[in-house]
């Protein structure tokens, strides 16, 4: 009994609460209805499930393709120790987005229609196609980590030998697919020229989504590295985090300058200096997404301190979330005069999905060789011995 009680820790209780709320929310969403579970309306048909769940879920999972391309295609051996973790983050991110989208769809049991009724004029069709294909690619990229644990040596070696030959092709296809759908998530809003606030509408909105997704994905890789080292006993060279941070800085400069020039060209800039809530949200976004991360990642004391790197990355991730929410919710409310605040069930469901992904990540790190074997730390001793 006392052993059982010891199993009950603070974080396990929190996790249990998250799942209880999320599962109850799922029940209400699917069996009671939309009005009981969400605050969506005719004026605000897309809420946080699209704005945060889909747009941010995908953007924050961009680390996988970025690191895989860097290591496998560009030969940046520096990042090889984290390539498996990055692919795992993306794999879990995309899987979560796919599951989450079932909540968002009104008729999720018709989802397979996307395979038979094509509309190549629809950006959402392209996004769905790319996300489905890329999730398949990620599954294939991640599969060897599970396969190498198979007890049948012959089969295992055969598959891994074969897999080794296609990993380059997979990475290449994955990079192209990622580039397409990361940008097309922004492209979803191209058609809404009259509805999107001038601070966010641009004919290059898809380009900017792509440019901000890569630093966001890398920031999440930094955060996951830090958390893995802190609580999962992963022994990694923390200067990899420093190098990632240094790579992010020029990306943010390019994004920031592009965003500024684009705002000037589109005539949106004057709106930033009007006393409106949109302007306030805009400045918050710029501060979190561009200014603070650039300042942080350019400061020597931050670069030398893993905790500070983690915190700055978290700010950057929040900046991307702010940007996606501004595009999909703030800017639309300006047009529709809707006053949308997500319901607690909308939030609970997203938090549950996130917690689920975190739990699977932890399980994978503890039981698979996600971080390089040579650096396998002593704290894993209670995990099953690896071959």
């Amino acid at each position: 009994m006392s052993r059982l009680l010891k199993q009950i820790t603070f974080w396990r209780l929190v996790t249990a609460a998250i799942f209880a709320a999320g599962l109850y929310g799922s029940y209400v969403r699917f069996f009671v209805g939309w009005q009981a579970s969400t605050h969506l309306s005719d004026a605000q048909p897309w809420g946080v499930w699209v704005g945060v769940g889909t747009l941010c879920g995908v953007a924050l999972s961009a680390g996988g393709f970025a690191i895989a391309a860097a290591v496998y295609l560009l030969g940046m051996e520096r990042y090889r120790p984290i390539v498996k973790a990055a692919v795992l983050i993306s794999f879990l991110g995309y899987s979560t987005v796919c599951v989450g989208y079932l909540y968002e769809l009104g008729l999720p049991w018709n989802m397979w229609h996307i395979f038979i009724y094509w509309n190549r004029h629809s950006v959402l069709f392209e996004v769905a196609g790319c996300v489905i294909m890329y999730t398949t690619v990620l599954t294939l990229e991640f599969a060897p980590n599970v396969i190498e644990k198979l007890p049948w040596v012959g089969l295992r070696e055969a598959i891994l030998h074969y897999h080794h030959k296609i990993v380059i092709a997979l990475t290449l296809i994955g990079t192209v697919l990622s580039s397409l759908h990361q940008s097309f998530l922004g492209g979803l809003f191209l058609v809404m020229k009259d509805k999107i606030h001038p601070l966010w509408y641009s004919q290059y909105i898809h380009t900017m989504f792509y440019m901000s997704a890569i630093p966001a994905g890398l920031a999440v890789v930094i955060m996951v590295m830090y958390l893995s080292m802190r609580s999962l006993g992963a022994k990694l060279d923390y200067t990899i985090m420093t190098d990632l941070a240094k790579v992010i800085v020029p990306m943010l400069y390019i994004y920031g300058i592009f965003r500024f020039v684009d705002l000037v060209n589109n005539g949106g800039l004057p709106y930033a200096f009007r006393p409106t809530s949109e302007a306030a949200y805009f400045w918050m976004e710029i501060l979190l997404l561009v200014v603070l991360p650039i300042v942080g990642f350019s400061t020597k004391r931050v670069l030398e301190n893993p905790t500070a790197l983690y915190a700055t990355s978290a700010v950057l991730a929040m900046g991307v979330i702010a940007n996606r929410v501004n595009v999909s919710i703030t800017s639309l409310e300006w047009f529709t005069h809707a006053n949308y605040v997500p319901s607690w069930i909308e939030m609970a469901m997203m938090i549950m999905c996130f917690a689920g992904a975190a739990i699977v990540f932890r399980f994978c790190v503890l039981h698979l060789n996600i971080f390089p074997r040579a650096k396998q730390p002593e704290r894993w001793l209670n995990a099953p011995a690896t071959a």
Binding site: F31, A43, G106, P108, M111, V123, E126, V176, G187, M192
Partner: protein, 255 residues
Amino acid sequence: METKAKALLIDITKCIGCRSCEMKCKEAHGFSQEESVKLSATAFTIVEERAGGKFVRRMCQHCNEPACQSVCPVAAIEKTPEGPVIYHGKKCIGCRYCMIACPNQVPKYQWTKLAPYMQKCDMCYDRVRNGQPTICAEACPTGATIFGNRDELLKEARKRLDGDANYVQHIYGSTEFGGGSVFFLSDVPFEKLGFLVPKEEKPLPALSMAALGDVPTVTFVGGSLLAGLYWITQRRREVMLAEGKLKAEAKEERS
């Protein structure tokens, strides 16, 4: 038999705000007969009182190149040759992109249902296909809404504008968002009546197509570029290996 494109012409100067169109439409669809203040899944057309006591009918514009049709990932929305933009609920997956894409906020959702479908005016497609006018046009007692062949209605509208200088010299709906099948005439500037003045006259789907057209280029140029970069890094690696000074390995040993 050639199908002739049909249309509706709504003359705001003739509308007396009796809401007959709204009520007959609701009756035909079996919706509640109460007056609605906004379009909804149970109100496909409404009459709103706007600035200066003018009555404006709100309904689907049945665009020639509809944003809703272009964005639907499963092609559940169709622009028919007769003019009506119709919805095939059987195909729908419920993504609600049509709702968010429509500049006039016309598509509405059955939020109260467990299997919700999008709902909007279908310009009485079943009647129009059989040569009948729409219910709203039939219901209008003053001739504010009339139904007819699209080209003839445009001619009629032009004639009214030419004959009366009080009209705003523009047929709303003939050019907006690439034009559609519902036209408005007014003696008060349209923007004062709350009509949306598009930022660009061209059809909205062109905006997404500008980006979607780049897909093949991005795929082939990007793909080739990456393959080329891979080839270069591999070649460099081979050369370095041959010369016995592979940087990456040396770096790894140091760490």
